[in-house]
Amino acid sequence: MASLRSYIITRLLLVIPMIFIVLTVIFIVLRILPGDPVITVLGPKATAEERERLREQLGLNKPIYIQYIEYLGNIVRGDLGRSLIFGRRLVVDEIMDRFPATVELAITSLLFGAGLGILVGSLGALSRRKSVDILSRLYGIISYSFFIPWLGLMLQMGLSIGLGLFPVSGRIDPLLTPPRITGLYLVDSIITGRFDSFLNALWHITLPTVTLGIVISGIFAKLGRTSFSEVLVQDHVLAARARGVREPTIFRHHVAKNAIVPIMTMMGLQFALLLGGTVLTEATFSWPGMGYLLFERILYRDYNVIQGVLIIFGLLVALINLVVDILYAYVDPRVRF
């Protein structure tokens, strides 16, 4: 395992330039691209004096390279500034309030979407009937084509407003909110033994999860179909069949394990899509996560919060890529060299 350890160390060192680049991209986009943040915040009607005051407050009156150094320095110290509205709270606090909701939604959607997608995809690959394969393929194309807010609104219209089966929005009944331990209501309610809170949280998260999960599942259906098809025609499967091994055993020992590896690694790449999807899902269901925070503050032009959320999303992507790469090296030894 010595090579795995050295791989992990190299990969950890690589994270530093990656994070640096991501932060630089955000800085360039928000500060250097044409378009003045001060006008973005105040609108075109503000007086020159008001603009100058805000420019000073945001530190935008300094030369660009000093702004850049300050920007990086503040991030290293964990200081993302203060909100421009709502009692000028610390951006870090605002984000910490919302962060668990996004994580919770992302995890449930990924589990639901990956499960559903791999099921549909493997059915298509394994079935001897061509019609099943075509249906499985069409599922992959159509589910990926849903515009998340539209799918969410259609589900809301039918199941929440029409049949009254699910709540239209929100994360939990405020009276049932469990004490904050991890911030994930589903986990906290189990830890504290509040079964009613757990069910209520589950009831609230169902529609957002199904919406985002269905869209994500399209990619897993495609991947699953390809991956299972490729494994099925390999020699070791043929050899197992020739030896008279029964089909269920072949599937379990010779097909499933080999087909899941490429799907697992692709799962990491789907996190980018998943995070983009949470923004839209949260905006649709008023799900109080980071995406909804971004959506709200775009309306109020709360510059520091917007920048903070983008930075956190960027760091999250870098972190997930790191974890996925290490897992990949663990599963597939060829990567380490």
């Binding site: 378009g35 194309i141 219209m157 839209l280 992507v317």
Partner: protein
């Protein structure tokens, strides 16, 4: 796959009766239908999509087939003209990303060296960022509007083309006929445009059709979040957002149809892309 040029690609599209071809034809029909509908919009409706023409929030009726919205705009007319906005932004932005991505990818892959390293590093970091979130960031910086939305989407998808073209160019520059041309004294730009670019075109076409689907969804997302077009410009994503508020009160027609159009357009381009990919890369589809 790589050594096939565009005329042979078109030749491969002609034989009928196989699944990939059906995919391309079905997708092509959907896309053609939407393009034609939006182009001949003035013939299909008498109403201006940016002017109140009737009482607000009327359900669908013979006079207003898709009803009216909270401001009394005719939704059928907004649907047709909205197609123009979406197609204009999406095609403009994907063409910009394609041209920029192909040129940068060619230069990077063909020359290699430090230039290549720096470009790859930048492109990879842009690529790893979630596309919707990066587009949101750029739109916030640039402000709303059709052209700003197009630029935001274009920037996000340049790496999609760059990565593919660079990879292929790395392989192609080592081919015998490229070496031969170089020995005969051909200039670099001549080799790139005459010997390498034509071999890339079929792959670029597939990437383009699949990229359009992502661009449509990103455009809709920007408009839905209030960062895309400026009202009252007709746009499907914006109409969906505007109608969301009225859904709990039962005004279902405001959100149903714009979202359906987004989905149909995406499915159309997906089918074309999937079909083309099968025709060009038959290994996986043949079972």
């Amino acid at each position: 796959m790589v050594s096939m040029n565009l005329s042979r690609l078109i030749g491969r599209l002609l034989p009928k009766g196989r699944t990939p071809h059906y995919l391309v034809y079905t997708g092509g029909s959907i896309v053609a239908w939407i393009i034609i509908m939006s182009l001949i919009a003035p013939l299909l409706t008498e109403y201006d999509p940016t002017v109140p023409v009737a009482n607000p929030l009327q359900p669908p009726s013979p006079k207003h087939p898709l009803g009216t919205n909270n401001l009394g705009y005719d939704m059928y007319s907004r649907l047709l003209y909205g197609g123009r906005t979406v197609l204009y932004i999406v095609l403009l932005s994907t063409l910009i990303s394609m041209v920029a991505g192909v040129i940068l990818g060619l230069v990077s892959g063909y020359y290699g060296g430090l230039k290549d390293r720096i470009l790859t590093l930048i492109m990879d970091s842009v690529y790893s960022f979630p596309d919707v979130i990066l587009a949101i960031a750029i739109s916030i910086a640039l402000g709303p509007g059709i052209y700003n939305a197009a630029i935001a989407i274009a920037v996000v998808y340049i790496p999609t083309y760059f990565r593919m073209v660079r990879g292929q160019a790395l392989v192609l520059r080592e081919q015998g006929y490229v070496t031969a041309a170089r020995m005969l004294g051909a200039k670099d730009w001549w080799i790139m445009s005459r010997y390498i670019l034509p071999n890339l075109l079929p792959v670029v076409v597939v990437v383009f059709t699949l990229n359009v689907t992502d661009a449509i969804l990103t455009e809709a997302a920007l408009s839905f979040l209030g960062l895309g077009v400026v009202p009252p410009t007709p746009d499907w994503g914006y109409d969906l957002r505007a109608g969301q508020t009225y859904l709990p009160a039962g005004y279902w027609w405001l959100v149903t149809f714009p979202g359906l159009m987004i989905m149909l357009l995406v499915i159309g381009f997906s089918l074309i892309g999937e079909g083309l990919n099968d025709i060009l890369n038959p290994r996986i589809s043949r079972r």
